[in-house]
Symmetry: C2
Subunit: 560 residues, 2 copies
Amino acid sequence: MSDTLKVVIVGGVAAGSKVAAKVVRLMPDADVTVVEKGQFLSYAGCGLPYYISGVVVEQAELMSTPIGVLRDHTFFQKVKNVRVLNRTEAIEIDQKGGRILVKDLEKDAESWLDYDKLVLATGATPVVPPIPGVDLSNIFTLHGVEDAEGIKTTLAEDKARDVVVVGGGLIGIEVTEALVQKGCRVTIVEMLPQILRILDKEMAALVAQHLESHGVKVLTGTKVESFEGNGKVTTVVTDKGPIPADMVIMSIGVRPNVSLAKDAGLEIGKTGAIKVDTHMRTSDPNIYAAGDCVECVNMVTGQACYVPLGSTANKQGRVAAINVCNENDAFPGVLGSTVCKVFDYCVARTGLTEAEAREFGCNVTTALVPAPDKAHFMPDAKLLMLKLVADSKTRKLLGAQATGPGDGDKRINVAAMAITAGMTVDDLANVDLCYAPPFSPVMDNIITAANVVKNKLNGYMVGVPAAEVHQMLQDKKDFVFLDARSQGEYDQVRLPGSTLIPLGELRNRIDELPKDKEIIAFCKISLRGYEAAIILQASGFNNVRVMDGGVVMWPYEKLT
Amino acid sequence: MSDTLKVVIVGGVAAGSKVAAKVVRLMPDADVTVVEKGQFLSYAGCGLPYYISGVVVEQAELMSTPIGVLRDHTFFQKVKNVRVLNRTEAIEIDQKGGRILVKDLEKDAESWLDYDKLVLATGATPVVPPIPGVDLSNIFTLHGVEDAEGIKTTLAEDKARDVVVVGGGLIGIEVTEALVQKGCRVTIVEMLPQILRILDKEMAALVAQHLESHGVKVLTGTKVESFEGNGKVTTVVTDKGPIPADMVIMSIGVRPNVSLAKDAGLEIGKTGAIKVDTHMRTSDPNIYAAGDCVECVNMVTGQACYVPLGSTANKQGRVAAINVCNENDAFPGVLGSTVCKVFDYCVARTGLTEAEAREFGCNVTTALVPAPDKAHFMPDAKLLMLKLVADSKTRKLLGAQATGPGDGDKRINVAAMAITAGMTVDDLANVDLCYAPPFSPVMDNIITAANVVKNKLNGYMVGVPAAEVHQMLQDKKDFVFLDARSQGEYDQVRLPGSTLIPLGELRNRIDELPKDKEIIAFCKISLRGYEAAIILQASGFNNVRVMDGGVVMWPYEKLT
């Protein structure tokens, strides 16, 4: 049939296979071809760390449907009616001719494929900087199935014990957990002053502490200068000294694969990724793009951003497919919502960090709120540490971060919805969320956090970050660091330079405190600290602040 | 000081103690008195089932702060600067005089308390209908700490084995789980045709099946006619026959305590609860009310509703306190969001059920979507069964329900946020939620569910409820009930009257199907059923529907 829509999709992993599946659902007679350079298609790249750790046993599980059918050529052909050309590389787009040159990598044979609509889902490639020795063996990235197999083989054969992970981003952290579970001693080397730049520094510091409690060495502000070894890597040389290494994982980040698009003259965005409109259409109306090769709009700032994530790739693939089929759908943008398992911590975030919000020019108010993630009397309640970032002027929520063993992504998803809807912290404080003791505190953690921001915005509470207090202590500033906890809690653990007056005794012992000095109150989570500040203010103390996050979120040394 | 604000709060449990705590934070010098009829204040009523089961060991845990301080008189007086009169009943309000008559139940002495602002947090009382024999011993409600102690004592002394729970609502279900854990054989007797009216009937049926899999007998459409016994209850007589009972829990529901308000001439709403504005102010500007004694606005319908929940009480208490202190805050209303643990099921809901939406006059489109709650290749992925209800005209989400072992409340909270923000299913399908394999599928369950509703609204898919198919089977209607699963799945479990053609064979075997009969396609979760329907429609079959929810959510008999 001459009126059959010919769709060629370049890339068959996340976005590409989603586009194919959706196009044939909308247009069962469409002539759909997927061109995939690699051997594998439609695999769950995000599952690779769990395949390395052994949580996922079989490689095939990452490439199967939920009911266990392998998503291979036969599946795509027979079930989906999609032709798959794997081990086939797209070479050149002939836009005027409406055709694309592809090369069968097995047969080394080139041919042209006609298209009515072309979809680029070319993905991204791990960044591997030209550090001397980077070509030594046992230095891996973790991007494709082949990488995971290489790492697994090395672990099995060489019993790699000392592993250096270069780059403390999401993939670096996930692979670290997997390697520790396989018995490796892992060192994370991060050039920047903190790991996980998706978080603010004090939140990232709490994650780093947790990594270290599991035996991981976290070296921030450390630059890799070279790799040494004899065929196989043996040493990672950094500006702080050498580190022994039986294996190295390079997880510095990825860059979008845009050469095909660039060569065809398609518009490339500021971020270096392919520019698309909300319909996922490139600057050529017959060419769409989706997934890790495109740039997105940050829904908070309205600015272009590059946030390659599998969840986004799948949604974009669906939107692209709908528009390819001449229906109408739009992809609104992203918030950078993400979650990461770090041993028994759930680390999640959405929207802008405080640093990003300030950089964007916002005047922000933040809250750090640690609390049990369920009714505190439930024995399985776990600590959840939340940070909210709000615009001081509009009172709108801009971002949220979670860490700790508690159920963080549940709250971050609520925050993502609030940001999407443009809600203020006042709105968020009164939303009707599910409550029962096995699932949440009676005031959900995110509602309490919204109330803390409200208290600050309304002038009831003046907060001070732990970092500022820590600096004041180091500078030997003259202030009272008032601990409002009980004697028993104080005896267990205390902060340097602090003075204990339990909240219940404060009214009677108020004369012990000087009115001419600043008082910084705190407690375990800074609720009693807040109440102490209120009592002091009511008694004529005019220079009182409350330390954000209390003892629980103090990321520095504690005395025991 | 004559300018000290005098605040009297009637009721010291959830809303009342929240009002007290917030008032003294905002106005540390306010003269705050809490009048509480019972012995206990500020206890977590929602935790009582977990105290009965022994998950919560000590009664005191329900009355303590997260750091273990008992919230008793001393605590309120010393820490909060709040006077507590417990075992004290509020008798009469003298609105003109700005005073309230209270009676010390220990000393049997009455006195007047002056107030500038009065807050009614009088709570609710369990409904106990005048059924013959209802006064026999070992018949309990579960509302206060005393009830829980009575039940625990009976369990300890009498080794109550056969327990009848009258009323299959939230409290009835929660107490059922607790009693089964204590070794009781439990029968739930529900007058209505389904348990858990907060859910639609097919969702409630799945919960009932789960209860029965744990040995609980669920009798719906069954009316209690009398209780028999000799001092202690021994038998519950129903219209379907007698049931042996060593103990009975009456959990029919609660009614708001409004007599004090009513006697004072305050406006009572249609629901029978106290009417308040968004500031939680009653018809008397100096009298506020909050918690289980007030009626709310349903944010979807705009209509008055009575949904007594601890989470709402706490938020309302905070809002009331802020307004009492002449600041400004507003409570927007509720969605009826709630969650309930039913053994290893998480049962949650928000907004309108399909039945409620239809009753309200909406034309609705629904989706039933069962799927793993995490990436399907993660070994701890659990089944989550979602139902979405959307307005067919506006495409707005109206409600959502979840059941199954998977992480349901996480998705229902997202739905609650979407409803609050007035989002359409199109909006919901593209929200940026957190993804990583240990936490969610790459397309989160709620996003997939939104896409299913979109497919129906856009005419790509015509659904049919299991109930309708079941009726068609019973009526011996002539249609093809097409199972698109694999032979292996079919051999394990199949639905009555179904014909198997695995999806992968459908294109080749399409001639086996008649074009003149209706075809209802399904599979395990009805995704392959949907793809089968698409293939059939493309081949000229014009009468094809897809059964909602597939085999997984089929609430009737299955063949094995």
